[in-house]
């Protein structure tokens, strides 16, 4: 084996600490060569090893009777009845998207799609959670434009609908945007594929695109902070080819319908290295690869480059004995590369040969499973005091509503989602813009409700309550369309974990997420951690994005946001009175302040109110439903009125705290007059506060003698995004 001496500079450029290098020497009992060092560096990167967060992730609830497979596989799997499973996960592509927004976002979508279809699921919906810097920052418009185009360019071409998501702006993301992409897939429960390799002698097969020099060390880059020279990292960003991905989906689906696959995994971060190591490690096997057989896009590639390349649209498959011909025929039909590049062994070692010469000989388990795990020091976030409503400026509601409905965080996202094909596959029953997206389970009258949420300003002020709130809000959104929330995926985006205050945000947010999952019977089944989202020492707001999935058993009862008709009664369900303005959008957008404790989430109350609302939806007692979140009651009412093009006349509510407070666990409902008594009685029986706050009708929102025309609100609501994007930079 050729051994060029490893230098201190090599260790540093591979992102390894001196202690980690010492551990490598212990594991090997000798010095590694460059190929081996490269493999260690990606396998032990934060991105692949979760070394800072593992200790805390283990505390999350991950089981329920309907959970088929929790975290640890490519994606999580839940039982959705009738022999079917929903398979989903959310994953970040933050660092690459900042450097090269179009390709960064596009390959983020491609990667998460592969995580899902590698398990045997046909992807049926894409979602995303996007965070950009202040609209005034010179880079923001370019990043928004590139990321949205990248998501569209990839998702539209592969033919999976992008059905919803969120887009937010805040100066803390000026140097580190967040691009979190989620895919939901549908599989038969008896056709789920896992990644543990088995069967000595079984062929290791490479399929998909050829390997190029793109994305080498992407996982290492995604595990470091940015500085002024981040632009130089552009060559580490991969380039996506959605057409090949589409072919890969179809070819894999076709192969999965046969009985040829023993195990399968996509080549994601750290490419061939992580896929081969993880598959072998999970199955307790060894692997021997002949590197010259790897399909290559460029001439003269070295084993080092092939092992660390993050070229996209590639999969690694262990075939059952004698199935090579069946598999090869399928991939040839779809005009994709297919190559047997090695076989499984019983040695527990990864042996790479290049034209007969051994270029790498590593023990698999110490790399894949014994990666470092840190218990990093952390300090709890100092809590802020509760902000009294009387200490917040009371602005006349029409002015406040007009400001809020057209502010960057609440303005219509039509400019964004009209660029996404959200209808392909012809099963989108609830399009973007509602509380949760709903996609039909093909060929049935059942549907999946999907929502992504987090309110980073709450998490910053109180990571525990903020973590709870993110989970609860997805639960609430799924409930609001009539879904039974089943499970979540989490995408934890934070700054540098080596700073105790950032580590404190991580620890407490995970605790909050865990509490909400327990309280709502809503476990975590997959997830991703993205750390080091900092530039020149300035971290992002802590952003644990949650993607929730629920089931609608009967699509005939699916509920939507718009007011449906005039003269219907408007009800506010959940927590009467209230008026929590701390960390509210009212406070930020109207008063220019970001302070106070965020609204707490009472999980018992959350569940009681949500279960009541869902039962009313299932009983067909409601005509519209919308949960209350950013901007509180008035914003929710305005959204219902604008989407239905029906106004409303309000009563029994007044004051800025009541109208714009962001107290949790609440919904606005509309009912026909004839159903009012029944709904009220049911609320009383369920111990849920229910207030009558007005009736639908007219072309304005009216309250206490003042009114705002829907036409004016619409102009503000729909005008901001296109106006902003069209403004010259």
């Amino acid at each position: 084996m050729t051994t060029a001496k490893i230098t201190a500079a090599d260790i540093k450029t591979h992102g390894l600490s001196n202690d980690e290098y010492k551990k490598i020497l212990e594991v090997l009992g000798r010095e590694p060569n460059l190929v081996e060092l490269g493999i260690f560096s990606v396998m032990w990167s934060e991105h692949c090893s979760y070394k800072s967060s593992k200790k805390w992730l283990k505390t999350l609830p991950t089981t329920a009777p309907w959970v088929i497979c929790g975290p640890g596989e490519n994606a999580g799997v839940i039982d959705i009845g009738e022999g079917l499973a929903a398979i989903f996960k959310m994953e970040s592509h933050n660092h690459p998207s900042f450097i090269e927004p179009y390709q960064g976002a596009a390959t983020g979508v491609g990667g998460i799609l592969r995580d899902v279809f590698t398990m045997g699921a046909r992807p049926i919906a894409n979602m995303n959670a996007l965070r950009f810097g202040s609209p005034d920052h010179p880079k923001t418009r370019h990043l928004v434009s590139g990321v949205v185009a990248g998501i569209a360019g990839y998702g539209n071409c592969v033919g999976v609908p992008t059905v919803g998501g969120e887009v937010n702006f805040h100066a803390s993301y000026n140097g580190n945007i967040l691009v979190n992409a989620m895919t939901v897939g549908l599989a038969k429960q008896d056709k789920i594929f896992y990644s543990a390799a088995a069967g000595a002698g079984n062929p290791v097969v490479y399929v998909g695109s050829k390997t190029g020099r793109d994305g080498i060390h992407g996982a290492t880059m995604a595990s470091a902070e940015f500085d002024a020279n981040s632009e130089e990292k552009r060559p580490t960003v991969q380039v996506g080819d959605p057409f090949t991905e589409k072919l890969l989906i179809e070819a894999c689906m076709e192969l999965m319908a046969t009985d040829a696959i023993q195990s399968i995994q996509d080549m994601g971060a750290a490419g061939l290295t992580s896929s081969s190591f993880e598959m072998a490690s999970k199955g307790g096997m060894g692997v021997e690869l002949e590197m010259e057989k790897v399909p290559q896009r460029e001439e003269g590639m070295t084993p080092y480059e092939m092992m660390l390349s993050e070229s996209q649209e590639r999969m690694l498959i262990i075939l059952k004995p004698g199935k090579e011909d069946i598999a090869r025929a399928i991939f040839e039909k779809w005009e994709l590369d297919f190559a047997v590049i090695g076989h499984l062994t019983t040695t527990g070692r990864m042996i790479l040969k290049f034209h007969g010469e051994v270029v790498c000989d590593l023990p698999i388990d110490p790399l894949a499973q014994a990666s470092p795990e840190y218990d990093r020091p952390w300090t709890p976030t100092r809590r802020q005091s509760i902000l009294e409503a009387k200490d917040v400026k009371d602005v006349a509601w029409p002015e406040a509503l007009k400001t809020l409905i057209g502010c960057p965080d609440l303005a219509s996202r039509k400019w964004v989602y009209e660029q996404y094909d959200h209808m392909v596959m012809a099963d989108t029953c609830q399009r973007p813009g509602g509380d949760a997206a709903v996609v039909r389970i093909h060929g049935s009258n059942r549907g999946l409700a999907i929502s992504t949420d987090v309110t980073p300003r709450y998490v910053l002020a109180d990571p525990l309550e903020g973590g709870k709130q993110a989970v609860a809000e997805t639960w609430r959104n799924i409930t609001a369309v009539g879904g039974r929330p089943l499970a979540i995926t989490d995408n934890l985006n934070f700054g540098n974990p080596q700073k105790p205050e950032i580590m404190g945000q991580i620890v407490e947010a995970i605790k909050g997420i865990g509490e909400a999952c327990k309280g709502l019977d809503y476990p975590v089944i997959s997830g991703n951690v993205s750390l080091y989202n900092e530039t020149d020492g300035n971290p992002i707001m802590p952003t644990p994005a949650i993607g929730g999935v629920g089931l609608i058993d009967n699509l005939d009862t699916m509920m939507t946001v718009p007011f449906k008709a005039e003269k219907e009664i408007i009800l506010l369900a959940g927590q009467a009175g209230g008026g929590w303005l701390g960390q509210s959008l009212y406070l930020r957008e109207i008063c220019g302040q970001e302070k106070g404790a965020p609204p707490p989430v009472d999980l018992l109350h959350e569940r009681r109110v949500g279960d009541f609302v869902r039962s009313m939806i299932h009983g067909k007692k409601l005509t519209a439903c919308h949960d209350l979140s950013d901007g509180g009651l008035m914003v929710a009412l305005a959204e219902m009125a604008l989407s239905g093009d029906v106004g409303c006349e309000l009563k029994n509510v007044a004051g800025h705290a009541r109208l714009f407070g962001e107290d949790q666990g609440r919904y606005v409902l509309t009912v026909k007059t004839s159903d009012l008594a029944g709904v009220k009685a049911a609320a009383t029986a369920a111990n849920v506060a229910l207030e009558e706050i007005g009736a639908t009708g007219g072309t304005a929102i009216a309250l206490n003698g003042a009114s705002v025309a829907l036409a004016d609100l619409r102009k503000l609501h729909e005008g901001w995004f296109p106006g902003y994007m069209a403004r010259p930079a």
């Binding site: 589409k246 392909v424 989108t428 029953c429 399009r431 039909r440 009258n445």
Partner: protein, 229 residues
């Protein structure tokens, strides 16, 4: 009616339109692989939406030269009905089955939304269930749907009643605002001379089911079944 849907590598609305067809025909829809040249007997061939061969070249340019398209051209000449939707419209214009070309949207962005169409002609197997002048709501989803032909061709198409649909307001006016992609004269769909081939950017299969929010598209498939039964 015996209906078939072409499947190119990169087609992604093939299943959607097959489902919509089966709903109207009550029969299984035949799926035709792009390399097939030996097609079964068919009354209708649909060239579906998607990104055939990735569309990394000009949209539809490669699809138009695929083996299956040569056979489809022969069938079209014999009168077999051909419906090109979205990428299918791009392919059949490239193949010369209907006049014109589809350019990049005037707004330079992909657009996915419901649009309103004014039915310009109901004298075809495709549009027989609509009335001329009727307004229907059908979604679009494309980045290159900007219909272009020279004035002479456009005048001829209009003169011979070969414009099938135009983008319109909900009340039927043909305005600039109602035009989502910059198409000449708001044209959303055109026939060939004998009205046996229709190319259109909007996706009737996406609103053929009340659960998806509307059924204006279904009338097209029902009309085909009725005429070609």
């Amino acid at each position: 009616m015996r209906a078939g849907v072409v499947v190119f590598p990169g087609s992604n609305c093939d299943r959607d339109v097959a489902v919509a067809l089966s709903q109207s025909t009550g029969k299984k829809t035949a799926m035709i692989w792009h390399r097939d040249t030996d097609l079964p007997d068919l009354d209708l061939i649909v060239v579906p939406g998607g990104f055939s061969y990735g569309d990394y070249l000009r949209c539809g340019a490669m699809g138009a030269h695929s083996p299956v398209m040569q056979e489809i051209k022969r069938r079209a000449e014999k009168g077999t009905r051909v419906l090109g939707i979205c990428n299918g419209f791009q392919i059949i214009t490239e193949a010369g089955l209907v006049p014109g070309v589809l350019m990049r949207n005037a707004g330079l962005k992909y657009v996915c939304k419901d649009v309103f169409l004014r039915v310009e002609d109901s004298q075809s197997a495709f549009t027989a269930r609509y009335n001329a002048g009727q307004i229907v709501r059908i979604p679009i989803g494309h980045g290159e749907g900007n219909y272009f032909a020279d004035d002479e061709t456009l005048d001829r198409l209009e003169g011979e009643g070969l414009v099938a649909f135009r983008y319109a307001t909900p009340t039927g006016e043909i305005t600039l605002d109602a035009n989502p992609n910059g198409s000449q004269r708001n044209i959303a769909g055109v026939f060939n001379k004998s009205r046996t081939v229709l190319g259109m950017m909007p996706h009737p299969e996406r609103l053929s089911d009340p659960k998806l929010g509307g059924t204006d598209g279904r009338a097209m498939f029902d009309a085909l079944v009725e005429t070609l039964a």
